[in-house]
């Protein structure tokens, strides 16, 4: 589903030898009533003035992140014979969606210090400070595990195709249970695990049409929304009753 190809115009920064130029198959994702996921194609090129450097191969890391929100992760324990929520850890910021794709093995594409600086890997993208419960690591691990199972967090090692150290492309699979917001797509060019250049763009994910209307109404005018729900229910109930009588006669 290739819509308009939008090529981003880059400012020419003189200090850099290599720069990333990027295009997305779509920079808007519309959540319609029959939305069941979407795929975004990402492609780009490396712009350089000089010859390709020989020392270390060029690598590309692409990270797409949904809007962040604070969360509570709870753990169940057996109490009084049944499993109930006991301990909880507050996670300050966790993206609702996070996909990271690389052109090679994680250890070669990005040094740990660079990951720390740019928050690229999933565990670094989640911010959790001041967790008092010991072993809060297990809670963030669980958060990643649960969201990975739902396709909300993805680590796709080697999913970026890089040819001639110049052209690259990958695709990001967006699941059906997506939330609204501005999704940030970040691009990192690396050599020997060091970031050479970065680029950032946004993908707007929005409910549209009926979905948007109902969602906004339920938040902005909850009383009217509630009354509307009731009116529909009453009308349907009356309709059913009337149809019953018609059928019986």
């Amino acid at each position: 589903m290739l819509r308009a190809l939008i090529l981003s115009v880059l400012f020419v920064l003189p200090a850099k030898a290599e720069e990333v130029v990027v295009g997305l198959s779509q920079n808007r994702v519309a959540i319609t009533t029959n939305f069941d996921g979407s795929e975004i194609l990402i492609f780009g090129a490396v712009k350089r003035e000089t010859a390709i450097s020989e020392d270390e191969p060029l690598e590309v890391v692409i990270a797409v992140a949904g809007p962040s929100e604070p969360l509570t992760v709870r753990r169940k324990e057996k109490r009084y014979g049944i499993w109930i929520n006991t301990d909880a850890v507050e996670v300050d910021q966790a993206p609702s969606f996070y996909a990271v794709a690389t052109s090679g093995p994680w250890t070669t594409v990005l040094k740990d210090i660079e990951d720390l600086r740019h928050h690229v890997s999933i565990s670094r993208a989640i911010r959790s400070v001041g967790a008092e419960i010991e072993g809060s690591e297990a809670f963030t691990q669980a958060l990643i595990r649960i969201r990975e199972a739902k396709g909300l967090y993805q680590t796709n090692i080697g999913a970026v195709d890089l040819s001639e150290q110049t052209l690259f492309n990958t695709s990001i699979q967006l699941p059906a249970n997506l939330t609204e917001g501005d999704y940030k797509a970040r691009f990192f060019l690396t050599r020997g695990g060091n970031v050479v250049d970065t680029f950032e763009t946004e993908i707007a994910v929005q409910k549209v049409g009926l979905e948007r209307f109902l969602f906004r109404l339920s938040r902005d005018k909850p009383l009217i929304y509630g009354l509307m729900s009731l009116a529909i229910a009453i009308a349907a109930g009356w309709g059913a009753s009337a149809a019953f009588r018609l059928l019986r006669n």
Binding site: T72, K76, I84, A142, F215, W238
Partner: protein, 305 residues
Amino acid sequence: MQIYLPIAEVSVNAFLLLGLGGMVGVLSGMFGVGGGFLMTPLLFFIGIPPAVAVATEANQIVASSFSGALAHLRRRTVDLRMGTVLLIGGLLGAALGVQIFNALKAIGQVDLLVRLSYVVFLGIVGGLMFLESLRALRRSRAPGAKTTRRKHGLAHSLPFKMRFRTSGLYISVIPPIIVGVLVGILAAIMGVGGGFIMVPAMIYILGMPTKVVVGTSLFQIIFVTGFTTLLHATTNFTVDIILAVLLLIGGVIGAQVGTRLGARLNAEQLRILLSIMVLAVCGKLALDLLLQPSELFSIGASGGH
């Protein structure tokens, strides 16, 4: 056909929802039950967040009980006075129930409360229904003397007496109000109309004649679930109108089929089938609580309201 629910924020199959609505509709037509106590757990199973399932189901029950109550009003089998007294209790209970629901949501125990309520009530109702219909089957094979008792209980001795002409009762308003409050709390927490508790309570506690019980119960359920829907919509924003409409369409058609089927089949055997199904849903929910879950962790919104 996948459909994205705007409030639940999940994508589900529209035909699955229509089918579920239809199936529960058939049952409600066949047995004269609201079906909320089966529908809400089924919604949990297909992955609708419990808070949305409970609030949306309340909205759906408004429709089915309105449709049923209209039929009873035409037959004059609604005790409006008793209904109003029960309703006053019911509204108080619903307001209380939503408060409890929100408080527990904030400390992350709402799932537990909803599931636990279901296990307890489905277990009791399913078990009683099963025993009752077994006994009835045995009785129909060996017909014996039918006993009728008229209890002169608590309802007659308490103050604030009131005359309920349609029911032919002269009792205190305190027991009906208490029954109303309790059922109202259940309606808000469990997303059910509460008919399956209300009907036995009216017969055994209030001593109302059986012929007005179902109509009166339906009459007050419309208002209690309607009020619950509004409260959930304005405080929790969890009523999903698209989900409700899909369930409604299935439910309305299913109920028509159900009444026709019910007229043809053996009532006692059907009742046993229903009770087995209720017990099966109860068992599944109980196992979820008793067995170690495969995922011990769960993610919730921070803080709460």
